[in-house]
């Protein structure tokens, strides 16, 4: 009797009116629902995150995000599958092999733009995250330009966690003196004459350059194209509205040629960090590099705006060359639910506030308090909100990798031969081949 009563009570409370047999089934379902719904708050299983952040501030930033994830989902075991190697060259090879072999990680780091779209989305290896984007309300906090470069069709394919600035000039304030004054007359001609003055004052190579691998020269090219032709012209190069045979491209190359008169002679054998080292040692006055150079200086005990400063590279004020890391959801992710939660953490204010100060970048969200950043980052955050955003070629955002890598090769030729016309026509050929 009593057991019958309980059952009836149970029917009432669960609200499933049915016969005893059906009830048994419903009860089992209820139990199953309990089993699957209760752990989603603490999580279970594992989460494998693939990136090339293995050292210094990058690895620290990633660890901060892991910490936040772990607080929310303590039951999940995080597997950090980071592969070392500059700009992710080795990691990308490992990732390609894994994806082709049907063993994707749960989520992986990918540069916003063509590296994401033309490599992974076009190959049908990604799942759209549009529903997460909408339910988290990222439209109101992440700039539209940024959303555009992680979108294809009507879907969004990854979430930006940070924004680096590719167009920045870093100067040693003690050496700069009156020769290179940040801000005043910030255009290419003024910059070149300042370099000339510094050279005649006895600094052999006032502009530090590390061009091993050639992508650093590609950065000079993209910055100079923006400086000469403006942001609209630059963006038009990738949607067919402006032409690679335009004189602006030649003019940008000519400016690089002039800059090469003022760089260190061993530039092809050193990388950007050794070039930054020249600036810090005072053998050069400045270097044009992304804002990861700031991380190099601060790691070597230099104080922002006391020992050194960073400004938009010559002639590119009011534009922000974006190098943006994102995380996406590969098709067939083994722990899909955990990966979705990871993507939510990546796009959250807490996640970006924890990650970016360590990484040396600025948050992709515009609502993260600027006070937690150093003075240069604060300046960049303010500029990011109003500047027009341009995607970088060198860092995979603007164009497919075949084009970017081809331009790198060509710039390697250019620094040797310094032939403006030949390089301009070779780059135009690459554009015909890979941008159409």
């Amino acid at each position: 009797m009593s057991s019958k009563w309980t059952r009836r009570q149970f029917v009432k409370t669960t609200g499933t009116a049915a016969g005893a047999l059906v009830l048994g089934g419903a009860f089992a379902e209820f139990l199953a629902a309990c089993a699957s719904s209760s752990p989603t708050t603490s999580g279970s299983g594992s989460l494998e995150i693939f990136s090339w952040w293995t050292a210094g501030g990058e690895a620290d930033g990633l660890a901060e995000m892991f910490k936040i994830y772990q607080q929310k989902y303590p039951g999940v075991k995080i597997v950090n599958a980071a592969v070392a190697g500059g700009a992710g060259s080795n990691a990308k090879a490992v990732l390609a092999t894994r994806m082709q072999g049907g063993k994707p990680p749960d989520s992986f780091q990918v540069h916003a733009g063509q590296e994401l779209i033309s490599t992974w989305v076009k190959a049908d290896k990604m799942e759209p995250i549009t529903s997460i984007w909408n339910s988290e309300g990222w439209d109101s906090v992440i700039p539209k330009d940024l959303k555009t470069i992680v979108s294809k069709g009507s879907d969004v394919w990854s979430v930006p966690v940070n924004v680096h600035r590719g167009n920045a000039l870093w100067v040693n304030l003690a050496k700069a003196g009156s020769s290179i004054t940040p801000g005043a007359g910030n255009n290419l001609d003024a910059f070149l004459s300042a370099l000339g003055k510094a050279k005649s004052a006895g600094i052999q190579a006032p502009l530090a350059l590390g061009s091993k691998g050639n992508w650093q020269v590609t950065m000079l090219l993209e910055n100079n194209i923006v400086a000469v032709g403006g942001a609209d012209f630059y963006r038009g190069l990738f949607n067919g509205k402006s032409s690679w045979t335009d004189n602006n491209v030649k003019s940008a190359l000519t400016y690089i040629k002039s800059m090469l008169n003022y760089v260190n002679s061993d530039h092809t054998t050193i990388d950007w960090d050794q070039a930054a080292g020249r600036v810090q040692a005072g053998t050069s006055v400045g270097t044009i590099m992304g804002d990861w150079a700031k991380g190099y200086f601060t790691a070597n005990n230099w104080k922002p705006d006391t020992d050194f400063t960073g400004i938009a590279s010559p002639g590119t004020e009011k534009t922000y060359m974006i190098v943006c890391d994102t995380f996406g959801l590969p098709k067939g992710a083994p722990d899909r639910d955990n990966a979705i939660n990871w993507i939510k953490v990546c796009g959250s204010e807490a996640g970006q506030a924890a990650f970016n100060p360590k990484k040396g970048s600025i948050p992709a969200r515009t609502d993260v308090p600027a006070s937690i950043f150093d003075s240069i980052a604060q300046k960049f955050i303010a500029e990011f909100k109003t500047d027009s955003l341009t995607p970088s070629i060198a860092h995979g955002s603007a164009a497919p990798e075949a084009f970017a890598s081809g331009v790198n090769d060509e710039m390697g030729q250019f620094v040797q031969k310094k032939d403006v016309n030949a390089s301009a026509s070779n780059i135009a050929k690459l554009a015909d081949q890979y941008l159409k």
């Binding site: 060259s89 390609a96 082709q100 033309s118 049908d124 091993k212 054998t269 990798e401 030729q413 040797q416």
Partner: protein, 272 residues
């Protein structure tokens, strides 16, 4: 008819090259166009000439150094075992380590140039890896440093295998030591030299790690090699079809070197 005409030919097994560009496999036959495009690329043209120049210089350097040190070590004086080991040690190091060390040595500002300056040999100073004209020689020096010890070991084994009776017979016939060396020892070294050329030749045609670490093909294309470009084409540019074509060219190059050797060695075994 129309359907048949537009359908892709499923001849993946027979195609010499594919159009594969991007992460997703595409086995559509591209016939020989990949190869025609490849040989039209300035970068690949530079690769082929670099790899030939590198191989020739590397072989000459290794064989001369290896044979020279083997002859010196074969003089039956004290301490040969010690030097034998010293010369052989670099072989135990990977090309990655060799490359890193020599990259530091060749740094134009604080490497070997400083040493040359200190001993007043300024005329020998050079930008080394920073200059398109000298970078390849830097690579040859590093590679020869590592592999000449191996050559030495081969030649030493060959020299020690020459029976003393041969030399003594020549001496009895009144030949001078120089003539013995030229007319008896050197001809007997021919099979060793051939083996060394084959073994070192295929290493140098496939050289990747040393270039990757030391110069990454730069400056310009001065030290670029087919194997490095193959890697770049596949994993940097997603041009899988082009990477596969380069791999085929490499295979043919190595086969051109190895196959005659195999034929020769099999024939001489038959004769025995």
């Amino acid at each position: 008819m129309a359907v048949a005409a537009t359908r892709e030919r499923p001849d993946r097994g027979r195609s010499l090259g594919s159009k594969w560009y991007g992460i997703a496999p595409d086995y559509t036959s591209a016939g020989l166009t990949q190869y025609i495009d490849l040989f039209g690329l300035p970068r690949f043209q530079a690769d082929v000439s670099n790899t030939i120049e590198f191989t020739i210089l590397f072989l000459i350097a290794c064989i001369l150094l290896g044979f020279g040190s083997a002859v010196l070590l074969d003089q039956h004086v004290r301490g040969t075992i010690f030097f034998q080991n010293i010369f052989l040690f670099p072989l135990a190091i990977s090309f990655v380590v060799t490359g890193t060390v020599w990259r530091w040595i060749f740094n134009p500002n604080f490497g070997i140039n400083l040493l040359l300056e200190d001993v007043h040999l300024d005329f020998l100073k050079s930008p080394w890896l920073a200059d398109t004209r000298t970078a390849l020689y830097g690579l040859v020096i590093a590679a020869a440093w590592q592999m000449s010890g191996f050559c030495m070991a081969m030649f030493l084994a060959g020299l020690r295998a020459i029976p003393d009776e041969l030399r003594e017979a020549a001496r009895v016939d009144g030949a001078s030591e120089g003539r013995i060396f030229l007319r008896v020892i050197l001809p007997l070294m021919r099979p060793i030299t051939l083996s060394a050329i084959i073994i070192l030749g295929h290493i140098s045609l496939k050289i990747f790690d040393l270039v990757y670490v030391m110069t990454f093909g730069g400056p310009g294309y001065a030290t670029d090699m087919p194997s490095l470009y193959m890697w770049v084409a596949v994993f940097r540019q997603n041009l899988y079809g082009r990477g596969a074509a380069i791999a085929m060219v490499l295979l043919i190059m190595v086969a051109l070197l190895i196959v005659p050797y195999l034929v020769w060695s099999l024939r001489s075994e038959d004769e025995r």
